[in-house]
Symmetry: C2
Subunit: 233 residues, 2 copies
DNA sequence: CGCGCTCAAAAGTCAGACTTTTACATCACA
DNA sequence: TGTGATGTAAAAGTCTGACTTTTGAGCGCG
């Protein structure tokens, strides 16, 4: 699943990144590249490259005569896919899933509305196929197969919206959905009403009914929020 | 405005990043670190660090025996603040502003609704202050002063939502708003109705009226979309 | 035609010397 | 005692050169 680290520098990142995002190095604490290089048994050049990347993610700040200081959480590039993966793998995964789900609940309805206007016939067909796949795997403990179709469905919606920023949230949504299946409850089959809603969204998009697609997707989002005990009015 | 490049490596980034995002190096084209280092008159170590950062932004991919290949636009980390800045500075700034504005229109109403539930008294006060500032500067060609208050207003809303992902869009919204003032039309004073809407949002948040805050913010968003000729039904 | 072998190109890694910035302490002077 | 100039050393930053590793591509052989 996770990209196997190729290159020494990537392996260092896979050590430091999760450690920092997990709060193992508290914000404000200072590291020294030389000491780190020695501890992780790599050359300083490799360590410097790793630090540069962490710096570009705003996880740390490197200053002369001071060292590499860990930045406060509020400054991290929390939309960086790698940062998201590290944080989801860490201890505050539940909090992460909540804030990402709230983001989904804001974005996906609008994306669905746009998809209804902009989806190509191919995308409509793909969407219908995903919905059918979801129906077919919604009973009998085929959770993994269901997940695949669910992810594909939401990805198509985001892509079909025609908006680049929405399209790029595909991986994020995939992480959230698979997180729900793997680490959340979800022992039993998915709720039939949720499955039906997906089918109806596919319908609405196919018919170009933007308002209905948006409203139906909003209902799906409300369901996702309720699953995580995030109150709705 | 733009962070003055400190460190040789940052200067290299400020050369390559804009060039790549502007399409000066087309996706698929290949660069060689040695050749680049020579051309930009820096050592290979510096160039390698820069390439690493570009790689972490998914702008390029570095493979042995091949070189550094520019990735297709669809794979870039378009939520990276630096990438956003580079793209906004480039040729397809209009397209960028559109897609970012659509994102805003999805996120900010939900954020405002959450803010109405979660805002602290301090945040409510700050919000009111921003709104008053907007009113005070809405006439007489004080566009810069107005912009400052406008940015502050939206930033407070996003922060007050209590959602980390929303809060991190503050810089993005700031870029969009300042882009509108500086590079768009906006010769004359802002529309009085828009100003009034902001005041009313502040009111709604103060009173904890989530539904009203969300609806009013949605009206603001519609206005922003219309300014860019993005159709509303 | 295809299979495997070899070669070289390019990134990757390392080590060491040197430069630059700058926090901190020290000291002189008011 | 407080304040400002000065010096020092610590840490990041830079450069260079040698070496290793991977791997695409060409070549020859079956």
């Amino acid at each position: 699943m996770t990209t196997q680290a190729q290159g020494l520098h990537a392996r260092v990142l896979e050590t430091l990144g999760p450690a920092i995002t997990a709060g193992e190095y508290k914000p404000g604490s200072v590291l020294r590249t030389d000491e780190l290089a020695e501890r992780l048994e790599v050359s300083r050049s490799v360590m410097r490259e790793a630090v540069r990347v962490l710096e570009s993610m705003h996880l740390v700040e490197s200053r002369r005569r001071v060292g590499v200081t860990v930045r406060p959480v509020a400054e991290w590039n929390v939309y960086d896919p790698q940062v998201i993966r590290w944080r989801l793998a860490g201890a505050d995964r539940p909090r992460q899933l909540r804030s990402l789900t709230v983001l989904r609940s804001a974005v996906e309805p609008v994306a669905a509305g746009l998809a209804a206007r902009n989806a190509t016939p191919e995308q409509c067909a793909e969407l219908t196929e995903c919905a059918l796949g979801m129906v077919a795997t919604s009973r009998g403990q085929q959770l993994e197969a269901y997940l695949v179709h669910d992810i594909a469905f939401h990805r198509v919606i985001l892509n079909a919206s025609g908006n680049e920023m929405f399209a790029h949230l595909g991986d994020l949504v995939a992480e959230v959905l698979s997180g729900r299946t793997h680490h959340q409850v979800m022992f039993k089959d998915p709720d039939p009403p949720a499955v039906r809603l997906h089918v109806q969204v596919a319908e609405a998009v196919r018919e170009g009914d933007a308002a209905r697609a948006e409203e139906l997707t909003r209902e799906i989002a409300v369901g996702a929020l309720q699953e995580l005990d995030i109150l709705a009015p």
